[in-house]
């Protein structure tokens, strides 16, 4: 068909979709660079509230780190053609993603119970910044989880023969990215914040 996008790219090592993804990750980096720079600028001004980051954010960090490992295993098994193990690792990654999201929400609640308002009349922009930055990261994780669930469902269908591992490769790149992004944000919020 005339619109086959692979025609021009056969000689290239990188698939065009991967290039789209890399450029997209660059734009997400800039978004969080903008937010964390704004955080630093605001912190140097008056009325900054210092508070402890709830421990639940540390647990969520370990969960997302573990999920990075499981998705890497899923890619490995997919390339080896081991259907069942591929399905297993992929599903576990999706579940870990959901667990991460729940833990993040619990982190917000822990702050509220410590009387640190995230938004509203009593809020301080220190907590608001944490809320907005973490929430935006959460939305990026949510996108990854939805894609994971989609690819997992596909992996259980009879037609799936693991010939095209591109979707799971793209997904794993994205997932590692949101993992590294969270580690950056955690370190940033914990030590700089």
């Amino acid at each position: 068909m005339a619109t086959d996008v692979k025609t021009g790219a056969e000689k290239n090592k990188i698939h065009p979709y991967k290039m789209v993804l890399y450029a997209g990750l660059g734009s997400i980096v800039m978004m969080f660079a903008g937010l964390t720079s704004a955080y630093i600028v605001k912190k140097s001004q008056a009325n900054w509230l210092d508070f402890e980051l709830p421990n639940v954010f540390l647990i969520s960090t370990f969960v997302i780190l573990l999920s990075s490992f499981t998705i890497q295993m899923a890619v490995k098994k997919a390339k080896e053609g081991l259907q069942n193990q591929y399905r297993g690792f992929l599903s576990v990654t999706a579940i870990l993603g959901v667990v991460f999201m729940i833990l993040q929400l619990q982190g917000f609640m822990a702050l509220q119970t410590n009387n640190i308002a995230l938004t509203g009349p009593r809020s301080n922009s220190a907590a608001s910044f944490l809320f907005v930055i973490t929430l935006l990261h959460l939305f990026h994780v949510l996108g990854g989880v939805l894609a994971l669930i989609g690819v997992s469902f596909k992996s259980f269908s009879a037609k799936n023969n693991l010939e095209n591992t591109l979707p799971v490769q793209l997904l794993s790149t994205y997932w590692h990215f949101v993992d590294i992004l969270w580690i950056y944000l955690f370190v940033f919020l914990h030590w700089i914040g």
Binding site: A2, Y17, V20, A38, K42, P121, S125
Partner: protein, 601 residues
């Protein structure tokens, strides 16, 4: 094989039938939800033109107020209703018009309309690809833009009016509902429209980058790319790296507006009542986030025009572009500097003077690549066998405007001068000439030059010449006097100058500017008539390569189908600027290098 034989193949008759396609598209898949980059380009162009008319009309309306502040026009009330009570535009309506004019022309016309059109149209055709890296994301990009357009348009019709705090949307006007009528639902719609617009730009930009890096045809190395493609590449990189920062700034703004946070709101009072119950924030923070996009945005608007002008000048001078690598290097330098100069918009915010001097230095550095480009355009014209097509005239007009507007940039880049000239008509004159009108000229040049490829017909030349001469003369007559007004201290964004003794001297001049603005607007209507008439009734293109150009888009059939080339994609053997080489007028990129050919370009 001789070049003559090879060249002859390119001058064949029109192979119109090659454009026909095997599978049948429905109206919906061909014209509406099309994934063909050429159709998406036309969608961007026509939506952009609709916005250009609306935005232009708004400028005519507020120029009417500035030129005739004491007059009353009853017909205005019948059109605008309560926004022109008694036949005079109200101050609220004036600010809404100025704001919407700025937003629409910067983002919807000169970003989506310019980049969206020409990146979509030219990238696959000039690099030798069948379509974009992801035609689906490309289609989404247009439809996000379309949705953004609908939301922005609807904001014009809400009861409290569209947003009226300026296109930069500084808090508190943008953050507090009670700050002004336009800060209510008009601002909500503005912010939604802009968020959708950012998504559209990102989807488009990611595609352009991936396509240029990954989908070039055989032999099309990066240094054989036409300068249009290089310019569109840097434009896409700028957009992908700067729009997310604007988005993050606007997300914080949404939280301030709707969720009671105070990122940007300092201790502030509306009608004597404290607007905030919480701790104060900093409005300057928004300015940093905004201008981190805002300055690259200027180059997002300007670079595509620079690229197209380079290409059109070389083709119509029948000479290689002068200093290809210098052109490329200066594009690169501008792209880097674009990210390092944003605070020159903020010299009067109480910026640390040392920091200010760093930004002055970096800003003035932009003069270096800009001068390189200007000299290279002029030396491309030098001793050329120039064909004054309407496209070429607009390209030359671009260079003229870029020089005129660029020189005042050196004034404004100096903090010491800027503190005096800030927010005066000098600034209005500067950015309208160098960014607004110049880029508009680049866009016109592109439309006149590539119209035969877009629609298989020519635009009417006589109308094109009328369009060009009145527009360039008008542009200078509108914006040149504004420099003097600005030097005399006349501030921008004022509704009525007639009550100030010091600005009464400009009443005549303001009327003159307004009159010319109306004439120039009328001539743009002439262009629109030419455009739409020519799509259906224009003179038909009968040769593959009407401008005798080297680039690959002219090797496609006169009306290319989806996929662009009916057979194999041509292989590229040379750079795109082999004009007047070895006694040949031009040698297209897909002609192999002959044994007796000289090495030098």
């Amino acid at each position: 094989m001789s070049h003559e034989a090879a060249l002859h193949n390119h001058e064949g008759q029109g192979h119109d039938d090659h454009g026909h396609h095997e599978h049948h598209d429905t109206f919906l898949t061909k014209y509406v939800f099309s994934q063909d980059h050429k159709m998406i380009a036309k969608q961007f162009l026509i939506t952009g033109m609709v916005w250009a008319v609306l935005g232009g009309l708004m400028s005519v309306l507020f120029r009417l107020q500035l030129g005739y502040p004491d007059a009353s026009f009853p017909w205005l009330e019948s059109i605008l209703g309560k926004w022109a009570k008694g036949g005079q535009i109200t101050p609220e309506a004036y600010y809404a018009l100025v704001t919407t004019h700025g937003t629409v022309l910067v983002f919807f016309v000169l970003t989506a309309g310019l980049s969206g059109t020409f990146a979509n149209f030219l990238i696959p055709l000039q690099i030798g690809a069948r379509d974009m890296a992801s035609p689906f994301l490309n289609m989404l990009s247009y439809w996000f833009f379309f949705t953004a357009s609908i939301v922005m348009l609807s904001s014009l019709f809400v009861e409290t009016g569209p947003f009226s705090g300026g296109w930069t949307a500084y808090p508190p006007l943008s953050a507090l509902h009670d700050a002004s009528p336009g800060s209510k639902s008009g601002m909500d719609l503005w912010i939604i429209a802009m968020a959708l617009f950012v998504v559209s730009s990102l989807l488009g930009g990611l595609n352009y980058i991936a396509t240029i890096l990954n989908m070039r045809t055989k032999g099309m190395s990066m240094t054989r790319l036409p300068l249009t493609i290089w310019a569109l590449f840097f434009t896409a990189v700028l957009g992908v790296l700067s729009f997310p920062v604007l988005l993050s700034g606007m997300i914080l703004l949404i939280f301030d507006r709707n969720f009671g946070t105070s990122f940007y709101l300092s201790d502030i009072y509306v009608n004597g009542v404290g607007a905030l119950s919480n701790e104060g924030g900093s409005a300057i923070l928004f300015q940093h986030l905004f201008w981190f996009l805002g300055h690259p945005e200027v180059y997002i608007i300007l670079l595509p025009a620079m690229g197209m002008v380079s290409e059109i000048m070389s083709v119509n001078s029948r000479k290689p572009i002068f200093g290809y690598m210098a052109m490329l290097g200066s594009l690169f330098a501008i792209a880097i500097l674009a990210f390092l100069v944003w605070a020159h918009h903020m010299f009067v915010t109480g910026l640390n003077p040392f920091l200010g001097s760093v930004f002055v230095l970096l800003t003035l550095l932009i003069a270096v690549p800009s001068a390189i480009k200007v000299f290279n355009w002029l030396t491309t014209l030098w001793r050329g066998n120039i064909r004054f097509t309407p496209g070429m005239l607009f390209a030359i007009g671009f260079v003229s405007l870029f020089i005129s507007g660029g020189l005042t940039g050196i004034w404004l880049g100096n903090a010491a001068l800027d503190i005096y000239l800030h927010d005066s008509y000098f600034v209005v004159a500067h950015f309208h000439i160098v960014m607004g009108v110049a880029s508009m000229f680049g866009m016109f040049a592109g439309v006149y030059h590539w119209f035969p490829k877009m629609y298989g017909r020519y635009l009417n030349n006589s109308l094109g010449y009328i369009h060009f001469w009145i527009t360039i003369a008008g542009a200078y007559m509108i914006f040149w006097p504004m420099h003097y007004q600005g030097l005399a201290g006349m501030p921008r964004r004022y509704f009525d100058f007639s009550i100030w003794e010091s600005f009464k001297q400009f009443a005549e001049l303001n009327r003159f500017i307004s009159t010319v603005a109306m004439i120039v607007f009328a001539v743009q209507i002439l262009f629109l008539i030419n455009f739409f008439y020519s799509i259906f009734k224009g003179r038909k293109v009968t040769v593959l390569n009407p401008w005798e150009s080297n680039t690959l888009e002219w090797t496609t059939p006169i009306r290319p189908g989806h996929g662009n080339w009916p057979g194999e994609i041509p292989e590229v053997h040379r750079w795109p600027y082999d004009y007047g080489k070895d006694g040949h007028d031009f040698i297209p990129q897909d002609v192999p290098v002959g044994a007796d050919e000289t090495d030098t370009h």
